[in-house]
Symmetry: D3
Subunit: 294 residues, 6 copies
């Protein structure tokens, strides 16, 4: 119709910035599905991670689609940005249920889920879903904190207990923890006895460790606070003494050799990120991972 044509004309002037930069319009043809989980119910120090997914998408347009790191472009990849999950405010159990159902849906469609948090607890239902599909799943966990508490203030489900719950699910020996520099004494004992634990500076170990993991299905859970607050101030529980932005970007190159079947990037909290460099770093990490996974 005439109106249809005119509408098409209007579109010609429009700059469309919906979803992560370079994302495909077609869910069906995409290999990776980005999805936001804007939950920050159990964050202990400073809330605000719920605003992470939308801010990361927004600033992604400040980057190029081409990466000088990997010499490849998002334009050669196919991924869909599904937007944010609608999570009931104040209800942790129901929120996790929704996250798991969405994960199952993506996995059943034969696609790789890439969750953007939100707080770290969102990883648990995603890993539950992924581990049901991939029986010998390995979780690679980057974080300043061990997240291995038995419970937190009486609560079983918390961003401080999430890796303990994952350990109960897939076994501590299938968890590789990098960059941890804060824990309780109990968590430290648990880590030493149960998980593969690479605390503090980890760049020296990572290549060798990754070699052993090449045959395994891998889930990557990246808490942005593994990076030093100088490079990633916008997070709920910043912990001075972490790695640099350049180092976490180098990590993405090393992850490229692995068989990644799911990923999340969590705990970006835009309110403490006036310069937006935390969101930009997160977006750049996601760009690199999409080029490897897409």
């Amino acid at each position: 119709t005439k109106t249809g044509e005119l509408k098409y004309m209007l579109k010609k002037f429009i700059c469309c910035k919906k979803g992560f930069i370079g994302c495909s319009d077609s869910y069906k043809d995409s290999k990776v599905v980005i999805i936001g989980a804007p939950m920050d119910l159990t964050v202990s120090f400073r809330p605000g991670a719920r605003m992470g997914p939308s801010k990361i998408r927004e600033v992604s347009y400040g980057l190029e689609e081409f990466s000088m790191y990997s010499m490849d472009s998002l334009n050669n990849k196919s991924y869909y940005d599904a937007g944010d999950l609608e999570l009931p405010l104040g209800n942790v159990i129901e929120s996790m249920k929704t996250i798991k159902e969405a994960s199952n849906c993506i996995l059943e469609n034969g696609k790789i889920p890439f969750f953007i948090g939100g707080e770290h607890l969102i990883s648990l239902p995603v890993i539950e879903a992924v581990s049901q599909k991939y029986k010998d799943l390995v979780v690679i966990h980057f974080d300043a904190h061990a997240d291995l508490r038995k419970d937190f203030m009486g609560e079983k489900y918390s961003h401080a207990t999430v890796m303990r719950r994952v350990a109960e699910l897939i076994g501590g020996k299938n968890i590789y923890q990098f960059g941890i520099r804060s824990s309780t004494e109990d968590e430290l004992h648990y880590a030493r006895e149960n998980t593969n634990f690479y605390p503090f500076s980890f760049m020296g170990h990572i290549k060798e460790v990754f070699k052993e993991l090449k045959q395994k299905p891998i889930y990557v859970s990246l808490d942005i606070d593994v990076v030093d607050p100088a490079y990633a101030p916008g997070t709920g529980t910043p912990e001075p003494g972490g790695c640099t932005a350049a180092e976490i970007l180098e990590v993405t190159l090393l992850l490229g050799d692995l068989n990644i079947v799911g990923m999340d990037l969590v705990e970006v909290s835009p309110m403490f990120d006036l310069s937006e460099r935390t969101s930009l770093l997160a977006a750049k990490v996601i760009r690199e991972m999409l080029i490897r996974m897409g």
Copy 2:
């Protein structure tokens, strides 16, 4: 002992700023008990109200103890600041249970509870406790929002449903709502049929309404967003078009004629309050109310 004396000497140099300005060291002899409820689990737009109680206490030292409004001083009053409740992060039901138990404790001791939020949902357990002690309790509700939803995103307990739950508890006819300028159509119908509803500009009505309430036990629930965001920007769901700071201070004078048996001031969110004027206004309102109630 010698050490005791020396310790005493150290104290002489110290400026003690614990608790709300002018608060008593003695719980036993106090008439009003201030208590913080740092919960912000169901806040819909922007979290951060959990930091309200500690910020309001901090800035209270920027005020005088003497009030030119009431020509009286906090020094002539007796109130205790119990600090903040320890609430389990992510667990709404358990948090409300703790708030109710603390309220009961204060009431059983024959004291008046003065809660500082946190989000508006904290009012529900306090009003539950107060209404069990005072059978014909009237709730005076200042807010930009009706807070009368049946549920919010499927959740029964939310800062958007709190007054509906209160209405179910004490009857809508015992609720007086002032300053409401935002609601759903359903909430508006409910308010018109059930509560005493004074939307938008309310200063013209308030004197007459208060006259009728002089014989009743009164609970005051003051959502800081009833004030215009120009005067109170630091809140989770700011709604342009509210009253001025001077008007809400005038309200405190009018409340002085009533028999107030409990109160809360909620939804102060310091992260959006660079100039600290929202916290200062809250502290000033609390000072005036303590002078009336203490």
Copy 3:
């Protein structure tokens, strides 16, 4: 297909927040078209208005779709949000050309354009397009500044000259200026001799003036700095001494009686708006106008 079904399942969890709250998916069936013009090239004091459209959309979800002011809801209206125009950075002439072409496209489709700025200069190409369709067009201009300079630093096209250019186009007698409290001496003389000029406090005049305009096609150009910086700090050239948020909301009710054939809201600059109340006020004004126009 199976994949199609599964995609449908994923959608069920998603909370879609694209475009202004409540906007329709159908351009064809919509009466009003919202469109962003993210240009801030000629802003004289502080840049940043380019971020206005996306921020206003984002915060619009902090409002209800139902309005207690007009007792009606966005749900009963039909408007389309076309997104932001793609404007060449640094090129004023080309940007204005794109804005005019987009305006023409909307007008030719029989729809009402509602532009969100961006700086005030964007109004010129929109008014050019609208005035070509409606020969006796009247422009109602709300602003702290007269915007009537002959040129600014040698430039003909500027946010400080926009109403002079409009006057040259449709005649000063068809321009009604409200709230002006800053001008050069030349601008003041020009205004007094050419336009309908209601400087400073204008609420007392507006009803009577609007009565005369009921038969005319009206374009409304609202520079957010007409509101006092206390209520609208997030703007490029704040000018203390303006109207309140409540007053500008009352203006939207009065505008409801007129035949509005185009509108813009300009100069919202989110970087100076930590509490987001400027964007929220803009979104609320837009909500009210959509209810009247939609």
Copy 4:
């Protein structure tokens, strides 16, 4: 010389923004002398007023030189901006001595001093100097605080004692205090017995009071916190409940009928003024006063 000429050529491209907007290059021919006193040593709640003078000058270029309020322009006036005094950090007595000497210098030259603070204590040495020249000096004091303490934390010289010191100097009956809404009980008693005291809302009284003062030499001391924190958040001890920006601008018109022989504007603290509207309001007040005094 050739170089001289070329230098002149360079100047042609330069936009000179030194000193307050529109200030004269000639000290000799100027009637009013603006001078900054960047001291914030005794500020009790939040420091930062030292940055007031330079910020106010900077934002003054965001205003027009012409005023629609007074229908006159800074271009028709002659005032010199001497820059900021160099004050020894940490030394109150020495700082006050420097301020007094600079005041004397300006007065001996037959010019009117216009000080920009800095904290309110800077008014004392200026008033000392002015009162030595004008024997029956009257001080008009706008402030949220009485500033009438006998001492503050043991200190005689403080921004909380400044008007008590002035009262000891020129007699309380020569002080007119407007807008006070915070004091100790002692200060209030002192004010009632000694000064002309117009607390809280003062616009209703001011015209009549000013009538009596037409024959007197007047010094105006304007603490920006007399304005409500909504309009002037950038100050050290904000006190909710003050006047509006429009009201303080109206005050400048009324002051135009008086014989002003000295003035200060104090307590602007840019760090709490993200939107810069406090500095802009201060600059606008100064513009209006310069038009009246210049």
Copy 5:
């Protein structure tokens, strides 16, 4: 009594966050005494260090009590947090006198003083007191600035002269300065001739130097600006080019071998620390030092 019991019940719900995390209730049994000196009178560039002590305490609850760095916990240590000194605003001499008296009191009680600034000048009275008790005291000074001026703007006592005064007190040869990267030419000459001077990058020297100091009583004075502004932006005179957060944490391990008899951490200025990472780093350094010293 009944009331006493009920009060006890209330306490059960309360989360007590007074003082630095993990501090003891008993002054008598504590080994280290934390005390705040909220003075910022002589800060040259940007004030605000007075808010350092309270902010550092507040954010300390964002850390764990257990340290993975030292494999020990604050729970095994005993230290008391005395709160902040009450210092007369604007009076440097009186403030230093109070700080010295408080230091003497702590030392006479056989305890180790740990001062939190405030500006660097506060170190002088503490070192005076400590050096009277320990005759061969060595001061280890971490700073971006030499702080060795003879006077500053005519003032003998200033944060820019503090180490010169200390040198006059205990001899320059007993001062070890690390990380200095800013000085006047005079200061540099003075340092080279008088103190042990390790400018710029110092990690390579520190182990060896510390070996020589094992037999000595040591006072540590840590100006947070020794750390690069990327890691510690919240300070009054940031100087780009400093050490990392990880390096200053490593320093705390090395200090563990020394006999520390007093310490201060100064110049944290929260107003320039939106992300709170400067305060968090300060709190983490204090945690590590308490574990070594407690």
Copy 6:
């Protein structure tokens, strides 16, 4: 005259902070001329660089005039700060014309131009002028971005195309690019074939490269975003993964061996620089370069 003398007396109290710290009053006798180009018309992600020059001057007073890096002082150098160019808002072509004319004027006077941006496009007219004087000019370019696009959104002149334009002017072989970590695929191909390209970490290469350049006239163009956003957050298009502040300061030492005939430092955007450390780093780099060049 008497008045003249008194004026002199006033000056004695004044602290003059006009221009960059230590700048000379005499254009004629100066070797280097600092000049601000406050243009930010083509900045793609976040505007605000126009405020760079005035902020950098302001914070320069937070540094010492003496440099411990170069063991020399600004006091021994002679440079003039001409202030900011007056550029027509919104007109790129006219702005570049003004910049070129000012550059010519400085060069014709036998002085070295040192431009402070503003956005990177300002380098083009300066380099045009300098390359006309020095025929075999070499440009050393530090940046996170290649700035080698053929055009940007259809525009030939943009901060994203500036080095492509420079290459067309002086030949790509005369351009040395350091630190680039973001480009399109086309830019990368262009760089590899045309310019001397040292992407990512460059400290290892720089000494050797500079050796070859000792005989050449050198223009240095330093985009502050070459430094990691942790150290320089205040910029328009931050790109995580850059060099440290210490490294860029080391670069200034290495540049000291070259024959620098012109320089610019661009893209400092103060609005995203709450802690002011980006401006401080820029000022420190300028101090070091002035010591080398002056």
